[in-house]
Amino acid sequence: MNKKQKIALFHEMVLIRRIEEHAMQLYQEGKIGGFLHLYIGQEAVGSGVLAARKPQDRVLTAYRDHGIAIASGIEAKTVMAELLGKKTGTSKGFGGSMHMADVEKNYWGGHAIVGSHLPFAAGMAMADRYRGEDNVTLCFFGDGATNIGYFHEALNLAGVWELPVVWICENNQYGMGTAVARASAVEEIHKKAEAYNTAHSRVDGMDVSKVYEAAQEAIQHAREKGPYFLEAVTYRFEGHSMGDPERYRTKAEVGEWEEHDPIGIFRKQLIEEKVADEDALNEQEKQVEGIVEQAIRYAEESPDPTWDDLVETVYVDEYGDVI
């Protein structure tokens, strides 16, 4: 990455952080409903991996999807509009926080049933091979998702068919309130890949530079040789979703991880590497504030989807007016 790209990456991570901080606020105000799963603390994973993809490479993730939506290139205002349930949102206001996608950006969602999107990733990679295209599919999921049947069936199929998928496990230590060791027979999650004859490695998910490098190798491996499993060790600073009693972890534990804030780490790197100085980075932060405020205004001023918008989107083909 050149200086410009590195600063853009910093800008992106800060943007993700600010959008979600405001989202928390808007949730308290009742302007956002449903479930809201924040990515705060995990930004380096999504931003690092997406920085290494080509636009032709497909992206999927679970319901903790705002960060990866932004990293995929979706505008802040479109993400915000979806959070507010507006017609101008990524999904016309039908999907909400958990279901953002933008086919133009090759970002295929945003899926709330744990593990359900892993088979999609295998199918998309299969389709690309079917058409002779050398796209790679990047599929993000959590540590908890590695224990559901979907994980097994999808990774096995990708292994048997040697599909160009990069499986990215964001190991943030917990599936809701259940620590990895209490839910998974194997704690070094990337080693599960061996049961699928899939190459694997583990990376520090708090260091965006390391994630970027690891992702480059993983993506190249997938494009040339077949599936790759990348485990990113990370942590979510906020609760699982709004209103998490957090009985399963201590404030001290959270505090320790917060000392490894991915944005702080990257900021330090950029200054040490003389990519930018404090002022330049603060300037970036200021810009982001403006973008987020505009995004919120745009979202609030946007129209709601109508009943007809919804009904017209249930089926594609005509079949008369029968139900």
Partner: protein, 323 residues
């Protein structure tokens, strides 16, 4: 009698049955350390310990499947599926295994399992997380499907489900947990497979269950102002389905409105309507009306979601429509 919430009623039923019979135990996602996603099992983990309050991986098929196995050899598992939407990832275990093993092996063992699942919409959780697919489960002989609408029934029915020897799917509604109602201090059971008149009236028979019982009671108040007295029959159990009180009431009112939260087509009330016509044909003065969910995947947008769900006003209009 003491006035408690639905949450407390269900929690008490579980607690008392666990105190009563050490073969009763709970397993599911976040039932332990977290205290239950809906706080129903709060305090259970500390009191009963991890042996009897078992946090599981995110793996619904083995949650229900292992519970089936434990039930086959004599334990009395209460398997919790965080929401009924996730029951589809355990569908084979519920409808092919729990429902059939007892019969298929000639009755040589029983399956005293209770599967608790939270259903219902109205919380902006979008299409995959907002369903009321009760009719789907009620279609399978061998399974019993219970869905209470008051704290009193919830406690008494859950206790019967736990003490009984048949597999029971116990469907709760997330938006009812705060609802309050009178519950006896002493131990009591409510029979599974018995419908109940929850309000007396002579003008129209209103058949419903679960959350829609509350909506129907509200509608009844409205209608009473216009001098219209509806009799409300609460099914409480969908399989086996007790039409007795429905027919009895209908023979006096000759008019019926059927209310459910789920989709109209192939829903619960299609069966109730058909049986009414089959069993009380000569007593019908007006076409029976159904009030149900519009046939769309529920959207995130608050207004559209509410528009798709049955409302008190819809019930009021339907009742006026049959008079």
């Amino acid at each position: 009698m003491s006035v408690i919430t639905m949450r407390e009623a269900i929690s008490q039923a579980l607690w008392e049955e666990m105190e009563r019979d050490e073969n009763v135990f709970i397993m599911g996602e976040e039932v332990g350390v977290w205290g239950g996603t809906y706080a129903v099992t709060r305090g259970f983990y500390d009191h009963f310990g991890e042996k009897r309050v078992r946090d599981t991986p995110i793996a619904e098929s083995v949650i229900v499947g292992a519970a089936n196995g434990a039930a086959m050899v004599g334990l009395r598992p209460v398997a919790e599926l965080m929401t009924i939407n996730f029951a589809f990832t355990a569908m084979d275990q519920i409808v092919n295994q729990s429902a059939k093993l007892h019969t298929m092996f000639g009755g040589q063992f029983t399956l005293p399992i209770v599967i608790r699942a939270v259903g219902g919409g109205g919380r902006q959780l979008a299409a995959t997380h907002s369903q009321t697919p009760d009719a789907v489960f009620a279609h399978f002989p061998g399974l019993k499907v219970v869905s209470p609408g008051t704290p009193y029934d919830a406690k008494g029915l859950l206790k019967s489900a736990i003490r009984g020897d048949d597999p029971v799917l116990f469907i709760e509604n997330a938006t009812l947990y705060q609802m309050r109602g009178e519950v006896p201090e002493e131990d009591y059971l409510e029979p599974i497979g018995v419908s109940k008149v929850q309000r007396q009236g002579s003008d129209v028979t209103l058949v419903t269950y679960s959350k829609m019982l509350q909506f129907s009671l509200d509608a009844a108040k409205e209608l009473a102002k216009d001098g219209i007295e509806v009799e409300i029959v609460d099914l409480r159990t969908l399989r086996p389905l007790d039409m007795g009180p429905v027919i009895k009431s209908f023979k006096t009112t000759n008019r019926a409105v059927l209310v459910e939260e789920g989709w109209r087509s192939y829903g619960v009330m299609a069966e109730v309507a058909t049986r009414l016509y089959e069993q009380a044909f000569d007593y019908i003065d007006a076409p029976i009306r159904r009030v149900a969910q519009h046939e769309v995947p529920l959207p995130y947008n608050r207004e559209l979601e509410q528009q798709a769900l049955p409302q008190v006003e819809d019930i009021v209009q339907a009742v006026k429509g049959v008079l």
